[in-house]
Assembly symmetry: C2
Homo-oligomer: 336 residues x 2
């Protein structure tokens, strides 16, 4: 397997990307290779000290970089030699089997849809994050690929994210829920009500009904489906809130237990690490004809290395083959 | 001022409602009265021990209760003598000046719209919660009154919630933001993009642009506007997450500092109390022709007492008069 990494993507690129690639060598099988894509002159200095890096890592030059402030589609057009564009074109031609980027999410999603197309039967790809909830991981799909989805799209997100949770997190029969504002059938907006009707009639979805925001932490479901606008708000709220609450708690605890400030500080570091997005290992764009893993812009080497792990599991456990099988059935959701 | 309290509303009604009413006596001016509405036989035993309660508190019998499982409009029709229906009818006829309920939010909102109508110029009322963010309180509007709003509704939420923040939290010129999935104009769904155009052209809104979920804790704005579906998801997520993170942090800290378990436990209680929704004092339904304060279903006496405080401030600081003034201007947002 050949895994492409956009070396120019994240906030601290290419440093963390290169470090992540070096660390990820430990995860590779004998035939596996990592392809770092980006400005060779910027990448090489970070590789030079590493022992025998060329055995597992290849470089592929790309002269341009898409900045997070740019409009996705326009940027892809204006920068055909950007690391994201070059990576997804390598992916299309089969020179790599997976793409990883901590760069511009919108541009990566647009490039993937443009060059890799959708899997057979899939209406719209969806980004799926797995959150480290206290009672077991919960997958949330979509968190931003599609901000004006139709009910059929939500239905398919439920199926695709179930396949993913089964394959990657080993959840046997993932319980799928719709994110809404009350458990009752009558609650929610038009989109949610229509998606609910589609999901509850589908024997291929273990649909457990609507859940509310607070239920994400209660262990009542394994997959939560929502539109990309709501999912993105939720994702960023969780990120902001985890930090704010932990910070506030530690400020107060430290005050209450001033004499133990050092021990508390060490505990805080451990916990912040535990709730760190770098542990997620990136969010796959489910439904495209390839393996595309989106990393947080602030990913460090650990985040990149974990994305390589996700890409490998994704291939080994045949996530795309299983999605195609379910969604291209004549009676399947791909029909709608 | 006469303040009605739905005595049958919350999870522990009428106990906490009656206790809250008794505690709230300390907040009342000489002419103020609290009117407890509900089943007299259930309410009286909780009042009996209290000293001179009848000087400040009146009872108004209502024989029916709307359960949280009931559909709002149908329940109001089927139960004309429910505490919520009786309270809002007393409000309409001027026998009370404010209504407080920790009961069925949907039924309370529907009853308020049915009996109190809207303020002049207001298209749709919106529920506004104030969250105790670390860098100062932030108002979020709407959190569930209107799940399919139009852009004009969001625009008016910005104006109404600004008036509220100014009046109740003393924020001089509240910075208003739209909840979206990126700061750039091009980000967001159709609703957000259209609302943005309306708000940025209105000199009566101190519009600071789009914010993301994480910005709620960064002190970059005082008012956040969103559709009622998104707002309700956010509200419940914050509630669930605060508890989950605090719980997880304390579990880990306690493990790290096992010898100080008691001190930690005391600190935890203080902090949980600080982040408790009972401190918010209820969420006003802005835009209706009255003062309607919605409390959390799990409100305790403190939550009810704080809602009385909010109702009093709402009247004293003339929130509704100011909203009417702004929205019924011929050139105002009420026009659209």
């Amino acid at each position: 397997m050949r895994i492409g990494i956009d070396a120019m993507g994240g906030d601290r690129a290419p440093l963390e990307e290169v470090r992540g690639a070096l660390e990820a060598r430990a995860l590779l099988a004998a035939d596996d290779r990592i392809v770092l894509i980006g400005d060779e002159a910027a990448i090489r200095p970070h590789l030079d000290g590493a022992h025998d890096w060329a055995e597992k890592i290849e470089l592929r030059h790309a002269s341009q970089v898409i900045r997070t402030s740019e409009a996705p589609v326009e940027a892809l057009r204006a920068k055909p030699d950007s690391s994201i564009a070059v990576m997804t074109k390598l992916h299309r031609s089969g020179e790599i089997d997976a793409s990883i980027s901590a760069g511009h999410t919108g541009a990566f999603v647009a490039a993937a849809q443009m060059h890799l197309r959708r899997l057979r039967g899939v209406h719209r790809p969806g980004i799926t994050i797995v959150t480290p909830a206290p009672r077991g991981p919960v997958a949330l799909c979509d968190v931003g690929a599609n901000v004006q989805p139709r009910p059929q799209h939500l239905h398919q997100y439920g199926i695709m994210a179930s396949v993913y949770m089964q394959a990657i997190c080993g959840v046997a029969d993932p319980r799928v829920a719709l994110l809404s504002i009350g458990e009752e059938d009558a609650k929610g907006n038009v989109l949610v009500k229509k998606a609910r009707d589609l999901m509850k009639d589908d024997p291929h979805v273990n649909f457990v009904g609507n859940v509310e925001g607070r239920d994400l932490f209660r262990g009542v479901c394994d997959v939560v489906v929502c539109d990309g606008f709501v999912g993105n708000v939720v994702l960023k709220l969780m990120e902001g809130m985890a930090g704010a609450v932990i910070e506030a708690v530690f400020r107060d605890v430290a005050e209450a237990l001033r004499q133990h400030a050092d021990a508390l500080h060490r505990a805080a570091e451990q916990i912040v690490r535990k709730y760190d997005f770098n542990e997620y290992g990136g969010a796959p764009l489910l439904g495209v004809g390839g393996i595309c893993i989106i990393c947080h812009g602030a990913s460090d080497a650990r985040g990149i290395r974990n994305a390589v792990r996700v890409a490998k599991d994704f291939a080994t456990r045949r996530v795309n083959e299983r999605i195609t099988e379910l969604l291209s059935r004549p009676e399947g959701a791909g029909d709608a």
